[in-house]
């Protein structure tokens, strides 16, 4: 490849004068030196090299722009590689970007030099800026240097765990690149793909499936667990991803579900019935299995199959033609026949799009219309040809119109065809005549009308039209005569007419057709036939080959039927043919002569000559060119080309018996949890405890290991059965609970608390002893009603958040929220229940779904999985001075951080201002004036204070979004008379809000935030500081975090996230005697290091 490219490029340099470079013209003016060097390539590049070597960014940029111009034009710029590659470290973004572009183009040819740049990319992969990480990975994976395969593999593995979905998307794109470079890595790559497939971000989904399709399309088993998620996410995935996903799911559906049209009686069951309750479905499924597949059982669509079809349907309204087409082919291949018709309307809409789109859509419609006439019949007129359509579009429209013709519509179609025949586009006119022939052959009612029309066309002035008509008439006559042998005189006049024309028509195919016809039906025109032969014989040598062959045929046939008149003529023709230049004709003549005019020893065949030549021949079948196209999947390249394209995968046939549908049962379908799905609730309680919490954060980053464990757990057991039985019981329970709750909310809250503890204990059990878990679960469930005594004693080690979701499901009331919020820090340390599991301020949402939605919103994109924002464990009392009494002319302002969730915006820190007027006259109209803020920062003003009396003190609350920086917020405080510029500086600890998380989650997140994101240090603690109470107090003073219950002794963990970006902040303190090892992990490095410093100070100080 490399040498090839080089060859080509050098070729180009010779071909074209260098002055035609894209860059040249524009840059001459700016760089006078370049023009004089234009005649010499080598020197010109020298000049570019010089520019690249300077340390002036604008010169470099100029040079890079010109080089990119060369690359764009396809000129060789590879000799500049060493000079360019140096600039990969450039600080200027545009230079860097252009260098990246250059690298991807030439690295393959200059592998050794390309290696120089690798370390830069590796460093960039650790950059805090996600765009830089992503583009580094893009280039690293695009440079196609086999030596770095291990580095690529490592980077991909790391990047698919990245916090940023954008980086993960890039990682998904990098997978096929690596695969094409080294296919042996397939197994490793499949692991990565598996991980990415489980990603719940819509941004990643499409790219992950694309990687799957390119690397391991045969591993359909990887899809099972993600199937429902994909279906549900589909609408939100970007359009290009949608195309890929739908195509993949089409194949999936063809392998996993049974044919919906298996028995032609399709049970039209409403969707509601399908989704009425999962319980029912499960039962039905079970019944199916139990019944051992009796043949007459009505078809019931698998709910997952229905899910796919239902979720794809809205995409028919996509603006992207490819998406619409993808849905259309899904319906065509996988939907019950009755529903396919729906897609027609949308396809018709696409016809008004660009002509290329029109072409592809029409060819797909042509295939569909062969099998499903009815689908497009109402849109017949949309296929009428406009005179301005390109020829290939016209032909396709014609094809479709022909396919659509029925007894009722044919008359309008034929009338339309008549106008097409006069078209100036002769190819199209000829195709129209063929189309008329096809209509005539398929619809017997109009055959005669068509024949008459065609005969009239034979007197047309245009030769192509005439020729085409002759050929079509021949075919039609042949078909008719096979149908009705009894009427030999039929169409005599047509044949006579054609025989007369024989000498005027010059198009070989038409002449041949006429001759063949006269020979075949010579009995109907006994007088004319010999004469035609005579004329032909006269002109034999000037005819085309195809006509010569037919003359021979005619001669032979006539000789058999009417040897008296024609024998001599026949011999003459044979003699002419004997010396023909074409061996085919010579052979034919020789062969015929033996049969027709046998010599001395008559061959055994001569007797049968008549039978051979005048046997009734089967009529040709006029059918659509698109008849067999449907062997290819619609909307594919192969379908358009009508041949198998490289990499085309056959669309599999539906299986006779559907494979086990339970393989997809891993996930609880979110959308329906609230409506009806008691089973799902049940599952949450049993196996999938952590899942509800996970589900909430739709956009969460990682799939946790727990999750997988539980999935396996579910898979392995027959849980579905048992849970089904239990679920009705459960329903009663929850109803009862609700009743109780209405009466005595207080009692309820207590009970829920109990239950929660109990749940968590179960959780521990089940995760520790997988095998026995099932029995235990059931036991506990049966005794759900009685509060278990172990409530307080067991520590809620994990799954706190999942319980939160549980509680929400059970209509958490305010009272519960209160009790838990009020728990003081001390209790939290004991670790019985960590703070308030339900997010503060959210407990008043009664609708569980809504609550889930809300929490998913608050979690946003960046933070990790099962974390919920919680109440602060400590409220600092420290106040800071904002405005001095002296400078403020008597007005003094102090502020403190309240650590409450700001009511203005989740991203804001609440700042409480205390304004005191110590002057001797009232201060009027205190408000915030101009703000001088760094980008990204926001301030929500406190309401204007109209009158601050003498000696009065007023508090006001404002919100400030510091955008996770340590930059102060500077703004003016205005009074009626004056204006004071003030500055609020937030210690990093105040820009954090506490989040709950389980310890394993903590550890995992901490593992991810290693390297540059980790800050650690040790401190010598004052002796009195070493107990847990003080440590946590010290931490709380500094930062608004919450303790994570930890099972490790002497290690204390705290978690929070930054207010603005939601980046996780993880603090761990490991105590070793008087020494404490502090570790702060945060994506935002500045925050991490500042926080560490503050913590150190706090730890070492004595009370």
């Amino acid at each position: 490849m490399a040498s090839n490219g080089g060859f080509q490029n050098s070729g180009y340099n010779n071909d074209r004068p260098p002055s035609s470079t894209g860059s040249g013209d524009a840059d001459v003016a700016t760089d006078p030196a370049s023009s004089s060097f234009f005649m010499n390539d080598y020197k010109k590049h020298d000049d570019l090299k010089q520019m690249l070597d300077t340390n002036k960014d604008n010169l470099k940029l100029e040079a890079m722009k010109r080089i990119i111009g060369m690359v764009a034009k396809g000129k060789d710029a590879s000799d500049l590689f060493p000079a360019v590659v140096k600039n990969v470290v450039s600080k200027n973004l545009e230079v860097k970007k252009l260098v990246y572009v250059y690298l991807t183009r030439y690295a393959e040819e200059q592998q050794d030099l390309a290696l120089l740049s690798i370390s830069t990319f590796q460093r960039a992969l650790k950059d805090p800026n996600q765009l830089i990480r992503a583009s580094a990975l893009r280039v690293l994976s695009s440079i196609r240097v086999p030596v770095i395969v291990p580095i690529m593999m490592l980077s991909i593995k790391e990047s698919c765990n990245d916090m940023s979905p954008y980086v993960r998307k890039t990682a998904a794109h990098a997978i096929p690149k690596l695969f094409s470079l080294d296919p042996e890595l397939k197994d490793q790559l499949i692991e990565v793909i598996e991980k990415l497939l489980a990603d719940k971000t819509t941004l990643v989904a499409g790219s992950a499936i694309q990687a799957f399709e390119e690397v391991c399309p045969e591993r359909i088993d990887l899809i099972h667990k993600n199937y429902r998620k994909l279906c549900n996410l589909l609408v939100d995935v970007e359009e290009w991803g949608q195309v890929v996903i739908i195509n993949m799911l089409t194949r999936y559906a063809r392998t996993q579900f049974v044919n919906p049209n298996r028995d032609d009686m399709i049970e039209e069951e409403s969707e509601k019935a399908f989704y009425g309750s999962d319980e029912d479905e499960e039962k039905e499924d079970k019944e199916e299995e139990e019944d051992d597949k009796p043949k007459k059982k009505p078809y019931v669509m698998d709910p997952d199959h229905r899910l796919l079809l239902r979720n794809c349907k809205p995409l028919l309204n996509s603006r992207n033609a490819a998406v619409v087409m993808a849905v259309a082919q899904l319906y065509y291949h996988c939907a019950p026949r009755a529903e396919v018709g729906m897609v027609a309307k949308s396809l018709i809409r696409l016809l008004r799009s660009h002509k290329e789109v029109q072409y592809i859509v029409l060819s797909n419609i042509a295939t569909m219309s062969v099998k499903r006439k009815g689908m497009f019949e109402p849109f017949l007129k949309s296929f009428y040809v406009h005179s301005t359509d390109p020829t290939h579009v016209k032909l396709l429209k014609l094809e479709i119109l022909t396919n659509l013709g029925t007894e009722t519509s044919i008359s309008t179609i034929i009338r339309e065809f008549q106008t097409y025949i006069t078209s100036t586009d002769k190819e199209f006119a000829a195709a129209t005549i063929q189309a008329i022939g096809r209509c005539a052959s398929t619809i017997p009612e109009i055959t005669d009308t068509c024949l008459n029309g065609l005969v009239r066309l034979m007197s047309n002035r245009d030769e192509t039209v005439v020729a085409e008509s002759v050929v079509v008439i021949k075919k039609l006559l042949q078909m008719q005569s096979t149908d009705s042998v009894s009427q030999p005189q039929e169409h005599k006049d047509i044949i006579v007419h054609m025989a007369k024309m024989a000498q005027d028509i010059t198009v070989p195919m038409a002449r041949a057709s006429i001759l063949w016809m006269i020979g075949e039906y010579s009995d109907r025109v006994p007088k004319i036939a010999p004469d035609v032969l005579r004329q032909c014989a006269k002109n034999f040598i000037n005819e085309e080959d195809i006509v010569k062959l037919q003359i021979l045929n005619l001669a032979a046939k006539l000789c058999i039927t009417n040897s008296k008149q024609t024998k001599l003529l026949c011999q003459y023709v044979f003699n002419l043919a004997k010396y023909d230049q074409n061996y085919d004709i010579r052979d034919r003549a020789r062969f015929l002569r033996q049969l027709i005019i046998p010599g001395e020893k008559a061959g055994a065949f001569a007797k049968y000559a008549k039978k051979m030549f005048l046997a009734t021949k089967p009529a040709p079948v006029l059918e659509s060119k698109f008849k067999d196209r449907d062997q290819f999947q619609l909307a594919t390249l192969s379908h358009v080309l009508n041949t198998k394209a490289t990499g085309y995968r056959e669309i599999p046939d539906f299986p006779e018996v559907a494979p086990d549908p339970t393989v997809r049962n891993v996930e609880v379908p979110t959308a329906w949890v609230a409506d009806t799905n008691l089973l799902a609730q049940k599952k949450k309680k049993k196996g999938g405890k952590v899942k509800p919490a996970k589900k909430k954060s739709f956009y969460s980053d990682e799939e946790s290991e727990e999750d997988e464990d539980e999935e396996e757990e579910e898979d392995s057991s027959d849980e579905t059965d048992s849970s089904e039985e239990d679920s009705s019981e459960e329903e009663e329970e929850s109803e009862e609970e609700e009743d109780e709750e209405d009466e005595k909310p207080k009692k309820k809250s207590k009970k829920v608390e109990d239950e929660e503890d109990e749940e968590s204990s179960e959780e521990v059990d089940s995760s520790e002893e997988e095998e026995s878990s099932e029995e235990e679960d059931e036991e506990e469930e049966s005794s759900d009603e009685e509060p278990q005594p172990k409530a307080k004693s067991t520590k809620a080690k994990t799954g706190a958040t999942s319980n939160a979701a549980m509680l929400l499901d059970l209509d958490l009331t305010m009272s519960l929220g209160d009790t838990l919020v009020n728990q003081d820090a001390e209790e939290a340390e004991v670790g019985s229940t960590v703070a308030n599991p339900a997010a503060v301020g959210k407990s008043d949402f009664l609708m569980p779904v809504l609550a889930q939605d809300m929490s998913s919103l608050s979690l946003g994109g960046d933070t990790g999985g099962s974390t919920t924002v919680t109440a602060p464990s400590f409220i600092p009392t420290k106040t800071y001075e904002l405005l001095n009494r002296i400078t403020g002319g008597g007005l003094s302002i102090t502020y403190r951080f309240t650590r409450t969730v700001s009511i203005f915006s989740e991203k804001m820190a609440s700042v409480e201002l205390t304004l005191t007027n110590s002057s001797d006259k009232p201060v009027l109209n205190v408000k915030i004036g101009d703000k001088k803020l760094q980008s990204g920062m926001e301030i929500f003003d406190f309401p204007e204070i109209g009158n601050l009396g003498v000696g009065a003190t007023v508090t006001a609350t404002m919100g400030i979004n510091f955008a996770d920086t340590t930059q102060p917020a500077t703004f003016d405080v205005c009074t009626q008379e004056k204006k004071f510029s003030v500055t609020v500086k937030a210690p990093v600890g105040e820009q954090i809000q506490p989040v709950n998380m389980a310890e394993n989650e903590f550890d995992k997140q901490q593992g991810k935030l290693s390297g540059m994101n980790e800050n650690s240090g040790t401190v010598d603690m004052a002796t009195e500081n070493t107990d847990i109470k003080t440590i946590s107090r010290r931490v709380y003073e500094v930062a608004n975090v919450v303790q994570v219950p930890s099972m490790q002794d002497n290690t204390y963990k705290f978690a929070g996230k930054t207010l603005s970006a939601g980046a996780l902040v993880l603090i761990s303190v490991k105590l070793d005697g008087r020494k404490a090892a502090l570790k702060v992990n945060c994506e935002k490095m500045v925050i991490g290091s500042m926080l560490l410093k503050d913590l150190k100070d706090s730890m070492t100080k004595k009370d």
Binding site: G69, A134, E356, K381, T424
Partner: protein, 417 residues
């Protein structure tokens, strides 16, 4: 998926190439040229061409061929749609997508192409995201950049890329907040000799230019949403609400975009705003007569403007000598196309053109009369009768300026004679 892209002008110059995977020699374009040479017009080049090892999927737009090379099975519409989006983006960035513009802006073009695809799979196609990544250059910014040393390339990931609404960037600010909606309908029709309509459809679209600060949430309601039965939406439109309430509810992208397009099919009754009275005849020997007049019909009192007729005469026609009573006509003797520019139709004085056709001597008289294409524009009317009821904005406090414009145009409006 998409391996390489070649941009070729009408003269057959490959003036730009971009490879997303390993380099493919541009000699691959020879296959394309071969097919192109067989086609009568550039439009007739089939969109998909198969070569021994590659497949060429091409589009023709703005006098340019964009040829994408793919090596494996891929949905062809995927590629075609992508290529058109590329052109859309160029138009959005540079105002047009002609060869000259692309050559002039090659750096931005190249950067855009690089950003759009990664390994042949679309990475960032949304205009708002691209504009944040690579800022469109204009004179002001160029000056500012040279002064400050900043570049057009952004160093941070556009906010849209990660959000649920990738089409809108955050932190939009305008001093004048305005939202304009153009409802444009094109009538495609075939009218036969006798003046009766053979087929007529309406292709409508709602193009919006929204310049609103912050994160506005707009709701557009129609007086008669029932008319709309087959439509496609910009991804910003909440489809659920449309299905349930028949309102268009959306958080708009910043700038110009196509909010929706709709199609009113042949089954519905479509009003035809103009009629043609024609008398075209050819006579053996001398030539022929040509007499056409145009008049308005069903225009709901609006004037028909920008009317023009295009008549492609048969090849055997040598010349035409005509006298129009309104407007002027031109005859292209090479392509044999006569164009009559009428302008607005004054109902009191119906435009008419008449005269004689001279035929090549000896050539047989044409057997069919030409099909006349008609162009027109009618302002302030949507031929389907669609009307916007109101536009509401939620989520922001200011009062935006709102405007709606209706235009009806001729699409493929043809009269067979």
């Amino acid at each position: 998926m998409i391996h390489s892209l070649f941009i070729i002008n009408n003269a057959g110059d490959v003036f730009m190439e971009k490879h997303w995977k390993s380099v493919i020699n541009r000699s691959i374009c020879d296959y394309f040229f071969e097919v192109q040479s067989k086609a009568a017009t550039p439009e007739d080049v089939p969109p998909v061409i198969s070569t021994p090892h590659h497949y060429l999927i091409n589009i023709y737009r703005s006098q340019l061929h964009l040829v994408a090379v793919v090596t494996t099975e891929v949905p062809p519409l995927f590629v075609i749609e992508f290529l058109h989006r590329v052109m859309d983006t160029f138009e959005d960035y540079f105002g047009d997508s002609s060869e000259a513009t692309i050559k002039e802006q090659y750096v931005v073009v190249y950067e855009l192409l690089d950003e759009m695809l990664d390994n042949g799979f679309p990475l960032a196609m949304e205009a708002n995201i691209l504009k944040e990544l690579i800022k469109p250059s204009n004179i002001l910014r160029t000056i500012a950049n040279t002064m400050t040393g900043k570049s057009n390339v952004s160093g941070t990931l556009p906010t849209g890329q990660l959000s649920n609404i990738p089409w809108r960037r955050t932190g939009v600010k305008y001093t004048n907040n305005e939202a304009y909606f153009d409802i444009i309908e094109e009538v495609d029709a075939i009218v036969d000799k006798s003046g009766s309509t053979v087929a007529a459809e309406i292709q409508g679209r709602v193009d919006a230019t929204v310049k609103l600060s912050g994160m506005p949430d707009l709701t557009l309601t129609f007086m008669n949403p029932r008319l709309l039965d087959d439509l496609s939406f910009h991804p910003c439109v909440r489809f659920k609400r449309w299905e349930a309430e028949r309102v268009i509810s959306f958080v708009p992208p910043d700038g110009s975009f196509r909010l929706m397009s709709y199609h009113i099919g042949t089954q519905n009754l479509v009003a035809i705003p103009v009629y043609l009275r024609h008398n075209i005849s050819f006579r053996e020997g001398s030539g022929g007569r040509f007499d056409v007049s145009v008049g308005p019909k069903q225009t709901m009192g609006k004037t028909v403007e920008n009317v023009s007729l295009e008549v492609p005469f048969p090849k055997s026609v040598l010349n035409v000598t005509l006298t129009p009573n309104v407007g002027k006509y031109t005859f292209d003797p090479v392509n044999k196309i006569m164009v009559w520019e009428i302008g607005r139709i004054d109902p009191t004085k119906l435009p008419n053109i008449r005269g004689s056709i001279s035929l090549q001597s000896g050539a047989p008289i044409p057997e069919s009369n030409p099909t006349i294409s008609v162009n027109f524009t009618i302002n302030q009317m949507a031929i389907s009768g669609l009307k916007v009821n109101r536009l509401d904005m939620y989520g922001e406090k200011y009062k935006p300026f709102k405007g709606v414009k209706y235009i009806t145009k001729a699409g493929k409006f043809q009269v067979r004679t």
